[in-house]
Symmetry: C2
Subunit: 369 residues, 2 copies
């Protein structure tokens, strides 16, 4: 999508055989900084230090990391070393492992002299596939936005609320929850987005508000607390979020706080859609009740970083010294609160039956297992 009027992806190769560029997301929203990755070590650092984040983008970055590794040393030893280095950057990231297995596996079957070219081709493929998936999610979801606009007699912008950043910055382009918004916006359907700041890490304030604003989509930042009030006063037409994991029955694990917004949507009859690429469905879990929830560090709650008057980014403590804090990173929204799942194959009910309709090959596999 656009930054300062120019179209970008979150990761790209400067030229054939050349370096790889990314946006340093740790500097957002205070500074737009493009970083050139010229080596395996630089790619590994970018993933580890979260210059790139979001499952799809982490996978794409790992694939490009293998390309950079091959450029330095395309021997079998070099390949093993590159896979190991990248896997260690964020050991629990599913997309990281998936991309390394896919590209690394193919490279093992490739002559050393061909590995640079094959790695570059496969990394580019992974990026293009992600763009295609997100774009398809966007097209299906945009129909919901358009029909909301039509039902309202095209009288006013469609008011959409989102939580966290499931935006193009988390993917290669378009995003998941934001894809329907960008597609609708491009198609001339007027939208306005309420952006939850998304404490404790503030991905809404620092990433979603930034990317929507740069692309020219009207948006307003709100505290996470405000959403229920806005829905109760009729200020929200649709709630759309992403998800980290969808279970076979349509329960969705997503950034902490999503469940509260889903409750408010249900209480005010605001439709709540969850946008997701099919591959993030976890067919091995029947429901979300037992998804283990990551407990992150207390300092994410007690300290906040931002741009100080000096212009530098600084962290400030907001709690009493020694105050204990709990920081569950995700919550689970039960399928009963979800109006529909927006996937690259279309929109379905958040239920076993709904998902089986769109992914018959997976649900058959499950029934047989």
């Amino acid at each position: 999508m656009k930054v300062q009027g120019r179209p970008y992806r979150t990761i790209w190769q400067e030229s054939e055989g050349g370096d790889v560029s990314i946006i340093d997301q740790t500097k957002l929203p205070h500074e737009f900084s493009v970083v050139r990755l010229g080596s395996l070590a630089e790619a590994a650092h970018a993933i580890r230090a979260m210059l790139v984040r979001g499952a799809p983008l982490i996978g794409a970055s790992a694939a490009w990391g293998l390309y950079l590794g091959m450029r330095e040393d395309s021997s079998d030893a070099g390949l093993a070393e590159a896979c190991e280095t990248l896997l260690a950057t964020r050991p629990t990231a599913v997309n990281l492992r998936w991309a390394i297995e896919r590209v690394g596996g193919a490279l093992r079957d490739t002559a050393a002299a061909e590995r640079v070219a094959v790695a570059a081709r496969m990394a580019a493929e992974i990026c293009d596939e992600d763009v295609d998936i997100c774009r398809s999610i966007g097209e299906h979801g945009a129909e919901v936005i358009r029909s909301t606009w039509e039902k309202g007699g095209r009288a006013k912008p469609v008011q959409i609320m989102t939580h966290c950043n499931a935006g193009w910055l988390a993917t290669v382009d378009w995003g998941t929850a934001t894809a329907p918004i960008y597609v609708a916006h491009e198609a001339g359907v007027p939208v306005h987005v309420w952006v939850d700041e998304t404490r404790p890490r503030n991905q809404g304030a620092s990433l979603t508000a930034w990317e929507l604003g740069e692309h020219g989509v009207p948006c307003t930042l709100i505290c996470d607390n405000a959403g229920g009030h806005l829905m109760s006063r009729g200020e929200v037409d649709l709630l759309i979020t992403g998800t980290d994991r969808t279970t076979a029955n349509g329960d969705v694990a997503n950034k902490i706080g999503t469940y509260l917004k889903a409750l408010a949507a249900a209480d005010n009859r605001v439709p709540f859609y969850v946008a997701l690429p099919g591959p993030t469905i976890d067919w091995t879990l029947d429901d979300g009740a037992r998804i283990p929830i990551e407990e992150r560090g207390a300092e994410e709650v007690t300290r906040i970083a931002g741009r100080a008057e000096s212009g530098r980014v600084e962290a400030v403590d907001i709690a009493p010294p020694g105050c204990s804090a709990a920081n569950p990173a995700f919550d689970v929204t039960p399928a009963r609160l979800v109006t529909g799942l927006i996937t690259e194959r279309g929109i379905c009910e958040a239920s076993q039956g709904g998902l089986a309709g769109l992914y018959p090959e997976r649900s058959r596999g499950k029934a047989a297992s």
Copy 2:
């Protein structure tokens, strides 16, 4: 309640005829600073600059401000001047007007030579009345906490969640939502409090976590987003908040975000109690749907103040430059989501009938009007 092991109120007279002391709440939780008010101007500044806040404490501070004004000039002109100065500090504060009318009215009927003594006596009375009301709320509410503990076989601490600061810092002592917690704690019922940080102004992180911690009540700070998850995993026994305004049918207006917690409590069968002094019931409103909601400045959302590494309190920007933000300060929780109202007269259902049972003299007045 206790600070650094010593009992305090939020406002007190140092000695007969002497100055008035307060806690500078703008410095919390980073510094505990007692400020001595020696003049009408200093009292007015303390209210205007929010060194004191919370409806009951603002009323008490205005009463003591009149005393300080009389000490300087007890003539009719001095009295008029003192009333006017104090009224202008926070023109929309209902308790401010109430206290000034009560004390100012009595002083107008008092000879100038007696005014200092009468003002001091009335200010002390207002403080003692507030302490009595809060203490009674605490005793009624503590029964709910105790019975929860008993029902659980006294096996573990009662887990209580609260939002914003309806603590002793907002009153003269005990608080409203915190009064049942303090009374239960004093009576040896083990409690643990989940403290919502309460964005955007973070009164939970800066005031509630501080006051509970200083008094020795175990508590854990959480982001506002975390409450739904904790309730869904059985980590919360009771939700207790205060309220700014309760309508005749039991709807409650309270700090933005309360409605979301009430929804989660209902969805997980966690009892939700609202603690309030009877005088905050607005008998003129049939329900909360049309309560006007104050829209505060965007910078409360986009900037956060805290203790920087230098030790100084600094503000940092967390949003993209120029990002627009909305900041509704309150929301309305419908009575159907409220398990009970805890008042100084006892606990009742959040309904017209429930309130009429406790306040027959007011509801009769209403029916006749």
